[in-house]
Symmetry: C2
């Protein structure tokens, strides 16, 4: 083709067309996986909606097989959340990159505004059917059929019914082909089981294609504390971000007040510190007039100041107690250690934290689990794409032998890692793996080390106690013989001698046991690099 | 927050905003990697443009370090391609999901229309500078500075200069921070070296920040044959695709002619076969009036007919001869086997083919390479995200011991796999790994098995030859003693006896060697499943 013609073929495409052609990037590859991804997208939206509205979530998932040969299924996901108003129903379920989540600095499960529309797309592509939404929101019930116009990335909505209601919640019913229900490690059942593990406040009911009813009741009867929406932290800001905030700022006439209003941890005192560091930038100027060079100097100045870490209450982990209960329920392991570390920042300023639970032996062994890794991000189970995920890769780099775990892959050990952040750096739009950011991997490693030391303490303690008990047993064998011989030699009563010898031995080994325990407890904490930030 | 407020926060976002916030999804994570990704995006565009215009590519890449402390670089990539007309310059470099590639059924390096705009974005985000483009296209030279308006995903172009020219080609000059030049396995240098390996018709010059000039001359003086743009294959079509084609069809008034004009391998005879299989669908009807059910029946009918495979000339591999020359140049291995398999289809109908080269011993050992995997897609080196890539995963599942490779990771072996397709199913927009589609993995496996058998033949031949030589040596040790003894016993001349014995042994082992060689050559071919498609 001559180059004249090439540019006649120049076209613009919508993000919906892009993902239609590259559905594997959304996680739609493989039949079992595709169905799990769909449930995952609806579940995360429902949980976010319930919690944001302060409602204790009750989720109902039904998978019906309509035609076995054609692998044709109907999926129903129903929540007791606040519902979606009619005005937003189409966009929420039939438009990509639209929603309430993408731009907020808030710990949420969804963060892209792609997932639900992707499911509507996949349903339509495989069955030609619209997605039926039944939304009960503030006294109004709307039933609508929704599809997506790929060329425009716009929803097409046909309202079936409108009425008053006393209920609330969203029900989504859609059909799919090219998917498969299976009770495998990557199936819907396992996904829900892990969701329950990380969300013990959530009640889940699953009805399988066989009509089997799986009920996972909540083990905690109140929602976790709401994470607060925060302002961006100064250390997480690039020059372009600062300029963009400055340009869109309406309230502040001066840089000094703009900075305090826009960013977290920015006090009047910090403005003065900044002024001293970047004297050539006029902090009284109007933010609208900020130049790239000035913004760059300010951002450099940010990095030279000491900042209070991001607010702790912006991040809400599953929690030590809940992880312990969940783990105990599932595995009833011989030893269980949970660590929860304080929030840190990555890429200079995006708050995140890591919690780790390690279960060893007992029920883990009984369940035949070896080197089991359970990855979560903002309490959402990550079942796919473990290769290349920051969590899996960090676990691989751990020197497990140092913690008396001889071969991670072969021992009865289960590791849970939950990464919590206002913006999880996923490797792809399918949100199944976490990008290998250095700060994130370091923190995962420290958390793993901390928890591993707890396991090691137990394992090595167990070994020492075993050794001591063995020695005691060996030594005790001589008591009878020795007491008899000493009695003959000395004329003392045999029973008295035996009692005295037993006491000596008991005391000696009781002392050794205490020493083992004390040594274990006084071991130094995990060493980690200085963060440089002052603590709150 | 009350649910009243949530929907006030409902917003729509552009794809540029999405990738601005999730730049790791485009491959921008890590400093060395980011710079390689940028060079990769520009190189692939340049190579595609040159080849499409029938120009033998000459590429010039310069990396200058402007400020060491700030990790501030300037990158220049210059090609001798057809250039881009002024009207399209902005969209080509400053708008995502726009371009000439996304919608074509053609083997190309780029296929998304994201990459170049992503580089413009990354440059602007890290330095605030526009990207300078100098385009010489059909006698006109345009110099323009380009940035991207993230909210709208639209380019902003400021033309600096326009003049007449006799040159052609595109030069892109842009600045970056947050990147790093390094001669590592993941750096620009290695990327270009591998690009040359898979594109021996391309001449590449690299000027490193140290001013060192690396010239990689072409080893082949003509472009590879142009892959033909093809029509979609009936087996690659879903119901929704068929409906979409039918709706956008302008020429055909009847389904029967529409099918023949829209799809490859669709003859009048095939229309009749289809008519027999789906009698309830009126193939004389206007495509505009096709219903979902009818489309579904037709697509099901497609899968029941036997089809000629996609046209072979739609896919152009590197080629056996070229891989051999390239490999020999780089490694000069002891043994080198290259296999190239015939085109297949995945997802029912997207044509692809696999070529594999395996080098063993010799220069591979000398270079200290062990279990080296070189992944390519449409001749483009894939340097990152090997975990989860269909190529790496397939190599892992190979039973290498069967091919006399005892431990893949520890032997001096280098494997090249190039996947060629009109649509490579990448796992993400960063285009660094291939999705694990079953059909694709099967085919990679068959190609690996074929090449491995060549290596095995050599290795086992070498071992047998070694064994035979050893036996011969041992047996030969007895000749002198035996000749002496026989001479004494028989009275025959010792020299004659020695000569006769030597001849017997020589003949015996010469025969064994021939048998080894013949056995190796007559081994059966790799067994593979029937494709079910009739051959052309």
């Amino acid at each position: 083709m001559a180059d004249d013609d090439i540019f006649k073929q120049f076209k613009e495409h919508s993000v919906a067309e892009f993902f239609k052609k590259n559905r594997q990037m959304l996680g739609f590859s493989g039949k079992v996986r595709s169905l799990t991804i769909i449930v995952h997208e609806f579940m995360t939206n429902s949980l976010d909606a319930c919690e944001e509205a302060g409602i204790l979530p009750e989720l109902f998932v039904q998978v019906e097989e309509l035609d076995k040969e054609k692998e044709h299924y109907r999926l129903t996901v129903k929540d007791n959340g606040p519902g979606i108003p009619k005005t937003h129903l189409g966009k929420a379920l039939g438009q990509m990159l639209a929603g309430t989540k993408f731009h907020r600095y808030l710990q949420q499960r969804g963060q892209q505004g792609i997932g639900a529309a992707a499911c509507t797309m996949f349903s339509y592509l495989t069955t030609g059917q619209p997605t039926r939404a039944i939304s009960c929101h503030k006294g109004k019930k709307v039933v609508a059929d929704i599809t997506i116009d790929f060329k425009a990335n716009k929803p097409s909505v046909s309202v079936i019914e409108e009425s008053d209601t006393v209920d609330n919640g969203l029900t989504v019913i859609s059909e799919f082909k090219d998917v498969k229900y299976e009770r495998s490690n990557h199936g819907v059942y396992e996904y829900l089981r892990r969701t329950a593990l990380a969300n013990p406040h959530c009640s889940i009911t699953l009805i399988e294609p066989t009509n089997e009813r799986v009920a996972i009741p909540r083990s905690v009867i109140e929602n976790p504390p709401r994470p607060f929406e925060i302002k961006p932290h100064p250390l997480g800001i690039g020059t372009h971000d600062l300029l963009e905030f400055a340009k869109h700022n309406k309230e502040s006439r001066r840089m000094s007040s703009f900075l305090q209003e826009t960013f977290s941890r920015f006090s009047a005192g910090k403005v003065e510190e900044l002024r001293a560091i970047v004297p050539s930038v006029d902090l009284n100027k109007n933010p609208q007039n900020l130049s790239w060079d000035e913004a760059e100097m300010i951002v450099k100045g940010f990095s030279q100041l000491r900042w209070i870490a991001p607010a702790t209450d912006s991040l809400v982990p599953i929690g030590k107690g809940h992880v312990e209960v969940s783990f105990a329920n599932i595995f009833n392991p011989e030893v269980l250690v949970v660590t929860e570390r304080s929030p840190k920042v990555y890429r200079g300023g995006i708050p995140f934290m890591v919690e780790v639970g390690i279960a060893y032996g007992g029920g883990v062994a009984a369940a035949g689990k070896k080197g089991e890794v359970m990855r979560f991000a903002n309490r959402v189970p990550l079942l796919f794409d473990s290769g290349g995920c920051a969590i899996s890769e960090t676990i691989k780099t751990m020197d497990w032998k140092r913690y008396d775990v001889k071969d991670f892959e072969e021992e009865p050990i289960a590791v849970l890692v939950n990464l919590i952040s206002v913006h999880v750096p996923y490797t792809g739009a399918g949100k199944q793996a976490i990008s290998q950011e250095e700060d994130v991997m370091d923190e995962i490693k420290f958390a793993l080390m901390e928890a591993s030391r707890g396991v090691q303490k137990y394992l090595s303690g167990k070994r020492k106690a075993h050794e001591i008990a063995n020695k005691k047993k060996v030594v005790s064998r001589y008591i009878q013989q020795l007491s008899g011989d000493l009695s003959s030699l000395s004329g003392e009563k045999r029973a008295d001698i035996e009692k005295a010898l037993t006491k000596i031995i008991e005391e000696k080994y009781a002392r050794e046991e205490t020493e083992v325990e004390e040594a274990a407890e006084s071991e130094p904490a995990v060493k980690e690099p200085e963060t440089g930030g002052e603590e709150e």
